[in-house]
Amino acid sequence: MKPPARILIVDDEAIMRDSLNDWLMEDGYEAVAVEDGQKAIEIVRSQPFNVVLCDLKMPGMDGIETMRKIKEINKDLPVIIITAYATVNTAVESMKQGAYDYIVKPFDPEEVSHVIRKIISHQQLLQENILLRQELKKVYQFRDIVGKNYKMQEIFELIRTVADSDASVLILGESGTGKELIARAIHYSSRRAEKPFVSVSCSALPETLLESELFGYEKGAFTGAVRDKPGRFEEANGGTLFLDEIGEMKPETQLHLLRVLQEREIRRLGGTGVIKVDVRIISATNKDLERAVKEGSFREDLYYRFNVVTIQIPPLREREDDIPLLAERFLMKYNVKNNKNLEGISPKAIALLMQYDWPGNVRELENAIERAVVITKHNIIQPEDLPANIQSFQESKGIKPRKLKEVEKEHIQHTLEENKWNISKTSKVLGIDRSTLYKKIRQYGLSPS
């Protein structure tokens, strides 16, 4: 259930204000009534409203002047002019001045209800469209997650399987492995795709702010709460809430969150009413949550709420066959972003990328390629365009345990690339005959990269 829309009534007659106020409350709105234009302007400055119902004939500032001043404060706030004086001239004048509509009192019950519902539903659509456009700009689609590695293929299959359910998903993986990308892929493959995807990093905010961020607050809940603010749960209503770094959450917030997940309703800080929410929870962490549960720093009951389905994203060093693909994808992305037209990444640079152990995972790879695209003076990214720690990795960590066959395979591949797959030249460099080279190519399944 969304929080009720707020409607401002401006009418000098107490009986009209009371009557409209009572009826709007019965219709599920939150109404605030004031008796003149000056008070209306003051309250519009300090409080949010969805619609203003303003009487035309009032002593002092009339309805049209009041509307004009309200529009100076908030040009998008719809104002409906109400009056007992039904003339074509006043109707035309108020519409010219920007009134959303014009109604004559006493109203036909259908009329006012219809107009307000139309405005509110238009505003909700607009809000959802804004959120949707913001999301689409990021072009996070399932197909945009790159990975031919079999572990990634298993994850893609799992995403397809869980997308259509409302089951909570816990995504585990080291920092930079793309946990949010997987969460977005689940959201955009689910029936909730048209609704908001809202992401909250539990480690980015101090504990006290995290609760107000998640659950919202009501005016006066604490110093600085000068107006009501809906929380991320309310923003995500109908859609998906992605809680990142849940391992950082303090016990009090864990308890609060557990209650919300059980009851499916929230209470804003400082508020008394409950608000129903329909939200799918996807959470993520780079911490060992099982151990945190055993050590008592993470609630077991909350862990099981989060952990209906687990997706474990492998670190990049365990899917090195994806590195050339990812590097290529990032090259294309940063070519466009930097208005460049680089043709590729040299085999030597690729080899360096594949040897590095990527503690920062995909994010680190992306940063390395972005940097290379910006600084390179070549048409193809060269080893010297890569960060120094990647260039020197082989020397500093040359002791990385590797099988002889792996080294041989890489060396042959590398030499073939260096000689543009000229078999004669490559066999000479390697000191083997052509037939042995052919045998090795078949044996290792080598092909031009």
Binding site: E13, I15, M16, D18, S19, L20, D22, W23, M25, E26, D27, G28, K105, P106, F107, D108, P109, E110, V112, S113, H114
Partner: protein, 182 residues
């Protein structure tokens, strides 16, 4: 024992009062009492509009609630209004004690049709439950089958059902529990 009281105001047919009692008894966990009829609420008559101001009638109805009264529903047979609307079928104090319904615009005769007892029974039951729903804190429901759907016209009253939708039922049950605890 707690009661929902029914308060006839003016001449109201006994079968209508009996019908309201029977239906409300099925929906709410309280006893039903029909109080001694009051006179027609002439004090609420507006000579300019030729209608009766329902909010004034509500103020009078609430005076007739006793200590055992949980809610009190007035029944009139006059044309009701509130200042902003051309007419209303009834009015209730949201989360309050008193409600009123009028038979005036529920009768098929008002629309130039032949009297139809079954039809007016159906409408009376719906409007009674609707107004009591407001007393228990329910606001209008967007489900046009739900009895809490806002009847803009008699057509809407006829379309909606005489029961709460699942969500309104859940809320009202919760409110009844709170009422009992209070």
């Amino acid at each position: 024992m707690k009661y929902i009281d029914i308060l006839p105001m003016g001449s109201i047919e006994p079968d209508i009062l009996d019908l309201i009692s029977r239906h409300l008894a099925k929906l709410f966990p309280y006893g039903l009492r029909t109080l001694k009829p009051l006179k027609e609420p002439i004090y609420a008559f507006n000579f300019i509009r030729n209608q009766y101001f329902s909010s004034k009638i509500l103020s009078e109805i609430v005076n007739h609630a006793s200590l055992e009264t949980v809610k009190i529903l007035g029944v009139v047979d006059v044309d009701l209004y509130i200042p902003i609307f051309c007419f209303v079928f009834g009015e209730a104090q949201l989360r309050g004690k008193a409600a009123v319904i009028s038979l005036y615009r529920l009768r098929p005769e008002f629309y130039g049709l032949k009297p139809n007892r079954k039809l007016i029974y159906d409408r009376v039951v719906k409007e009674s439950i609707h107004e009591l729903g407001h007393n228990f804190g329910l606001t209008h429901c967007l489900d046009e089958n739900c009895v809490m759907y806002f009847s803009h016209s008699i057509w809407h009253t006829d379309v909606k059902k005489s029961c709460f939708c699942g969500e309104c039922r859940r809320i009202i049950n919760h409110r009844i529990v709170l009422q009992e605890e209070a």
